[in-house]
């Protein structure tokens, strides 16, 4: 690796003399601290930075900001690469490794450049017309490998961004002339001001402004404005671009290094937003305008002023406005050699004539009424062909190695078009500017179409003062800054040079996507006349620079080709993000384990320490089984379930949803929300109850306890509590807002320990002590009792989900662990969800696999409840004819006819092994240790659901067909003797 040294230390206001080095395409280069990769490579005379996406044409740096279409590099080495990083924005950091993209085998020699030969028939949309035979698949792999820009990353080494919430009175987007003027007004008025500036420094175009502001030079004024803002407590955020947001929230993104790391996301809630994001320079279309060495004029000035880089030895400037001359003077004063200035304007003012005269006097040839027609030099500009616009036949050739183009400036409207903002065509601006905005936003400066310094200073200042007043900042703002000596650019629109039809294939409009004038013409000829269609068909403006350089240019050329005014053609719609934003920044802090909160029960630590294997249930972690009981879930589940039925066990049921409903109207309210009545319950009793959804389907079930005449505790499925809570709250508001119903979510207030099995009562009596003996002995099924244990409230409900004698203990988490440990010491083995599933399937109890939102209560065998039922939510929809039809599903049990085959959950049930008509499906299946075989719960069409019916459980996915017989869903202890012991 040759170490390339810059010839001498460059002077630019962003670089210091300190040396740094980095790699590009395997070679090491020196640079100065503050350099970007683009400036450093340009300083070394590197011209080739990449190749274009379709034709693989050699490309160099075109711009100095996010509008860069060509110089996209891959940063890092696999697996942690970051592709498509814009070289002009990439800061050099220690050990930085960069590579050019989209070329093979090298940047200099790219075999895919042979594609250029196909440019005649590889125009826009060519792939719609071919690649059909034999099928697209035949070509797809090759196309995908040719497409894309940078490498796919194998991994990412990016920390989540910092996220900051910012609230302010006035947000100013952009710290250029208009932005600073607005910020000053707002700060003086006493508003809380935040300014977002994409660059590392403020000032924007003022960096190159020769006019004075308030009797100071432009740069001096910027410094004093910043100092004043600092004194007023205004906040200026650098490297920070406004990227999007919605509904009054503005998102700004700071990416200081340009390499996707160390980013900050600002979530800004301003009262008012002043958009002063300026305008971006654009080019002009001429033949081979994409050659390395063709660059935006403003970019060349920036490389010189900021980094001390001369982008060429023999420069030519090309454009259509007066700023060409000011730029030329600056470049000349810095010692750059300017061969010529090509100005498309023939009919110009005296001012312009004077400007030209001055430059001619410095030895610069000024050609008015001329245009660059063509560039020569495939790997870098070496010569241009210039034509006289009045006499197109005459050609002048000028040798040069850099062509600096400026076709005008396109206002950055993106933020102004969002959330109800409008734009209009402004002839004097030559393009589209912001107009009607929602009342909290206003556009000033270039994005409002005001380019003249003195005017925009005043307008911006006043607009901000008004906005500040409207939010109550009434301080005296004084006089707006006064600009003197600025002149209007006197731009005359010029979009492309004339050329032959064949040459239109090499007049580039969107550099990144290789969209040419020929493509635009082709789109029109194929009937794509609307700019939205043209964008989609040609891919104009959909690249990483989001149409900054090519969007308006393309629209204007379309207008010329159509013979329509640009105001009619319009530009395609823009949307956030206004600058490409990394997925990591968008994801914010919710990455990795923080994607969603993890909820743990009070017994989690104990479970973890004692070999629990967890599984997620919504946001909760629940114990699936304990490692000590088996090598995997299947064996451990069987062991634990067997233990429960033989002796007993304890389960952490804390995730059970618990909602308290209280008040004088609580009972009547519950009657309305549950299928059967709660109002008939006695205090101290509980009841199994079912909720219907509005359409009659079973929504949830649970046990409801009557704690007091006007207090009930409703339990819901784990993970379902929030949904049920909102459901209850909705009906309370909708129908009961004038009544007394208080609803409180107590899911996290009560830990729940399930104690189940034949030895459960005895163990519980031993643990809870004599004070509880009589209560527990006398507790009948579905009763509950409330008292205390170890100084805290304990509620014991006798209820069972396992079919065994069982109790649910509700306690606050302070005593959860001691109680649990005491129960373990009393000989009860903890069991998990795997075992619970076995136990409940054996008993035909339902979970979400059965209550899946598709089943009516009758489908689930709850006919009895329906008959008892009252006019609850959902009842009215149960009478629909489909629900009484014979093919309506019914909950049944299934067993394998051979007594041993495995029945799989998700199997479809048919009459025979060749039938394709499904009668239902297996919703839950387990191996039952109690019965020594696989059992299932299933849905089967009503008219085939009689016990004893033989059907087939079809599982083509796993290649099995099992003959099954319909049984009652209650497989074990159908009379519930064990539970009611």
């Amino acid at each position: 690796m040759t170490l390339r040294r810059a010839l001498s230390t460059r002077r630019g206001h962003r670089v210091t003399s300190q040396s740094v080095s980095f790699q590009f395409d395997g070679r090491e280069y020196t640079a100065q601290a503050g350099d970007t990769v683009a400036s450093a490579l340009l300083a070394h005379g590197v011209r080739l930075f990449g190749r274009s996406v379709k034709y693989r044409r050699p490309r160099g740096v075109f711009a100095a900001g996010p509008e860069e279409p060509n110089a996209l590099l891959t940063v890092g080495t696999q697996p942690c690469v970051i592709p498509n990083v814009s070289a002009p924005q990439l800061a050099i950091t220690p050990q930085l490794i960069t590579r050019s993209q989209n070329r093979w085998p090298s940047l200099r020699v790219d075999l895919h450049a042979l594609l250029q030969a196909g440019s005649g028939f590889l125009g826009a949309g060519f792939y719609y017309k071919t690649f059909m035979w034999p099928s697209w698949r035949t070509y797809e792999t090759m196309i995908r490998h040719l497409a894309g820009l940078g490498e796919a990353p194998g991994a990412a080494d990016i920390a989540p961004p910092h996220v900051e919430y910012v609230s302010c009175d006035v947000l100013v987007g952009g710290a250029g002339a208009a932005g600073l003027a607005a910020a000053l007004a707002a700060a003086r008025a006493g508003a809380r001001v935040v300014v977002c500036e994409r660059e590392p420094q403020a000032g924007g175009e003022l960096e190159f402004e020769t006019a004075t502001i308030d009797e100071q030079s432009a740069t001096e004024w910027v410094s004093s404005a910043l100092a004043e803002l600092a004194r007023a407590g205004a906040r200026v955020l650098y490297h920070t671009a406004i990227v999007g947001g919605s509904d009054g929230l503005v998102i700004a993104h700071a990416e200081p290094g340009g390499g996707a790391k160390d980013n900050t996301v600002y979530r800004i809630r301003p009262q008012k937003f002043v958009m002063a994001m300026g305008a971006v320079e654009r080019g002009i279309a001429f033949v081979d305008n994409d050659r390395p060495g063709v660059m935006l004029l403003g970019a060349a000035e920036r490389y010189l002023a900021r980094y001390g880089v001369a982008v060429g030895k023999e420069l030519v400037l090309f454009g259509n406005h007066d700023r060409l001359y000011a730029s030329a003077q600056r470049l000349h004063a810095a010692g750059m050699r300017i061969r010529a200035i090509i100005d498309t304007r023939g009919d110009v003012s005296a001012v312009t004539i004077g400007l030209r005269a001055r430059l001619t006097g410095m030895g610069v040839e000024c050609l008015g009424g001329h245009a660059v027609a063509e560039v020569h030099g495939a790997h870098g500009v070496r010569r241009i062909c210039v034509v006289d616009l009045q006499a197109p036949g005459t050609k002048i050739f000028i040798e040069c190695d850099a062509l600096l183009v400026s076709g005008g400036w396109t206002p950055m409207l993106q933020a102004a078009l969002h959330d109800g903002g409008q734009r209009e065509f402004a002839a004097q601006a030559g393009g589209f500017v912001a107009n009607a905005q929602p009342e909290w936003r206003t556009a000033v400066g270039a994005c409002a179409g005001t380019f003249e310094l003195s005017v925009l200073l005043t307008e911006s200042f006043r607009a901000a003062a008004q906005l500040s007043q409207s939010v109550g900042a009434m301080g005296v703002v004084g006089r707006a800054p006064v600009g003197r000596g600025d002149t209007a650019p006197q731009l005359q629109a010029f979009w492309r040079s004339a050329c032959t039809r064949a040459q239109e294939k090499r007049q580039f409009v969107d550099l990144q996507n290789d969209v040419t004038v020929a493509d635009l013409r082709l789109a029109l000829s194929e009937g794509f006349v609307d700019i939205e269609h043209i964008k989609r068909y040609t891919t104009l403006g959909i690249g990483t620079e989001q149409g900054r350089t090519g969007g308006l240019l393309g629209a204007a050329i379309v207008a010329e080709l159509k013979g329509e005014p640009l105001s009619r053609v319009g530009v395609s719609r823009t949307r956030p993000p206004y600058q490409p934003m990394t997925l990591s920044s968008l994801a914010g802090l919710n990455q990795g384990d923080a994607l969603r909160v993890t909820r743990r029960t009070p017994l989690h630590a104990w479970n973890q320490a004692n070999g629990a294997v967890f599984e997620p249930a919504e946001y909760w972690l629940r114990t699936r089984y304990y490692r000590a009981n088996g090598t995997d879930a299947f064996t451990a589940g069987i062991q634990e379930a067997t233990q429960v039925r033989a002796h007993g066990g304890i389960l952490d049921g804390s995730t059970l949803g618990k909602i308290e409903i209280a008040g004088a109207d609580a009972a009547a309210f519950l009657d309305r929300l549950y299928l059967t009545k709660a109002s008939t319950m006695k205090v101290g009793r509980s009841k199994y109850m079912v909720n219907l959804r509005e359409d009659g389907m079973v929504l949830d079930d649970g046990i409801v306890l009557r704690l007091a005449p006007n207090r009930f505790l409703a339990t819901t499925g784990s993970g379902h509590a929030e949904h049920m809570l909102s459901h209850f709250e909705h009906y309370r508001a909708l129908e009961w807002s004038h009544r007394q119903v208080a609803i409180t979510n107590l899911t996290e207030a009560w830990a729940v320990i399930v104690v189940a099995g034949p030895e459960s009562r005895a163990a519980l009596i031993r643990v809870l002590g004599e004070a509880w003996h009589a209560r527990l002995s006398g507790l009948t099924h579905m009763d509950f009792s409330v008292s205390r244990w170890n100084g805290q409230t304990l509620r014991v409900l006798r209820a069972s989900f396992s079919g065994e004698l069982a109790f649910e203990l509700h306690c606050q988490h302070g005593i959860a662990v001691p109680l649990w440990e005491a129960l373990v010491a009393a000989g009860l083995q903890p069991y998990g969800l795997e075992a619970l599933d076995i136990l409940r399937v054996e008993k035909g109890y339902l979970v979400s696999s059965e209550m899946n939102g598709e089943a009516t209560p009758q489908d689930l065998g709850m006919d009895g409840l329906v008959n008892l039922g009252n006019e609850c939510v959902g009842r009215a929809m149960l009478g629909r004819p489909a629900f009484a039809e014979p093919q309506r599903p019914r909950l049944v049990g299934l067993r394998a006819c051979d007594g041993k085959s495995v029945i799989q959950g998700g199997a479809q049930i048919t009459l025979t092994t060749t039938d394709t008509h499904a009668l239902g499906h297996v919703s839950s299946s387990v191996y039952s240790p109690a019965l020594g075989q696989w059992i299932a719960l299933a849905f089967v069409a009503r008219d085939r659901a009689a016990p004893g019916t033989v059907l087939v459980a079809r599982d083509p996915l796993r290649g099995t067909d099992v003959d099954v017989v319909v049984t009652s869903p209650v497989h074990v202890d159908s009379s519930s003797e064990r539970m009611k012991a």
Binding site: I143, P580, M697, P881
Partner: protein, 424 residues
Amino acid sequence: MSVRAPRYSAWSLLRGRFSGPGFWRPLWSGRQLQKAYDVVVVGAGGHGLATAYHLARDHGVRRVAVLEKRLVGYGNVGRNTTIVRSNYLLPQNHYFYEDALRRWETLSRDLNYNVMYSPRGVLDLALSDGEMVSLARRGNAMRLAGIDAELMDRAGVMKFAKELVPAGTRRFDIVGGLLQQRGGTVRHDAVAWGYARAASALGVDIIEDCEVTGLVTTAGVATGVETSQGPVAAGQVVFAVAGHTGAIGTMLGVPLPVETHLLQAMVTEPIKPLINSVLIYVHPHGEVYILQSDRGGVVMGGFLDGFPSYTREGRWSRLEDVVQSAVALLPQIAGLRVLRHWAGTNDMTMDGSFIIDRIRYDNVFLNGGWCYGGFKSIPASGAACAQFVATGTAPDLIRAHTLSRFASGHLLDERGGGPFPVRL
């Protein structure tokens, strides 16, 4: 009047290269709106254009107009995430979507326009054993119907989509998945333009900038429509307006079981191939479906924004949700950048399945309520709807997709979510 466009092929590209201007013709030539048609189709999206195409091609209906408020393909057909699949649970749905998938397989040749059908596989990921049971139920139903489906365990998923092999652990880990290999992607713009071109070649008038503002009726029969370009008489009228389906109900005085929601999608900068199938990752309160377009950008979408909207401007927090899920699934993409995002307007029905049925009048048809399943169904929707309109009888494939099914209880609810497009 049909306009002869050159037949597309590699040879035609070569010829075009060396021919003068005028070799390529407009895909659907500018036609004049006539005073009367046999059938007026409202909406030049995928469904409207496909219906018109099939009316002309399969049923010889001579005078068909497609009236479009804005531009061909401006609506959802140009805004979706390009996924095609037939991995539906219910027979009333999966036979229909399978019909569509079979048509996707040959559509490029049928239309002579490359729609780039890419059967790269659609993989639904399961994050728990319970989800595996749900996937198995769906996959087995598909297999019974003769539709391809494969259930994979974790190892199988990691082998199929190597980019899923995690460097660390995921908050919600992958336990397995259900793959439909024949599912995949189709280039969405090509579908609209391809159908428009083919329909136009068969004599269908496609009229843009023509908004239908009302239905004209006489004695209980529709006789035509009012438009922004004047009245048009019609023997039959088909409304295929996707996100504006609800508004059509309002216009016709028929309250519909439809709620209009906004759905966002986004794409990153283009990179070399990374994701070679369509991955669907649904975790508690979050979901993402993610794929890579042939141009190289990573395309992703998620759940609805969550409230009725016609603005086509999504809310930022939903963008963040989808990206969070995408980065959780594929952490290696964290450094890629979102370039563009857009939104469409989804007509969500109260059971999540579509409606193709008469609406209020015997000669007026509604083709809508497509929820998330609009794009993938286009070829089948066009064929079935055209048959319905031309013959007066709904073909078997759509017989269950009536407007009246909500009242009768014959719901087609794949998710079990009930009449709530937005889950509580």
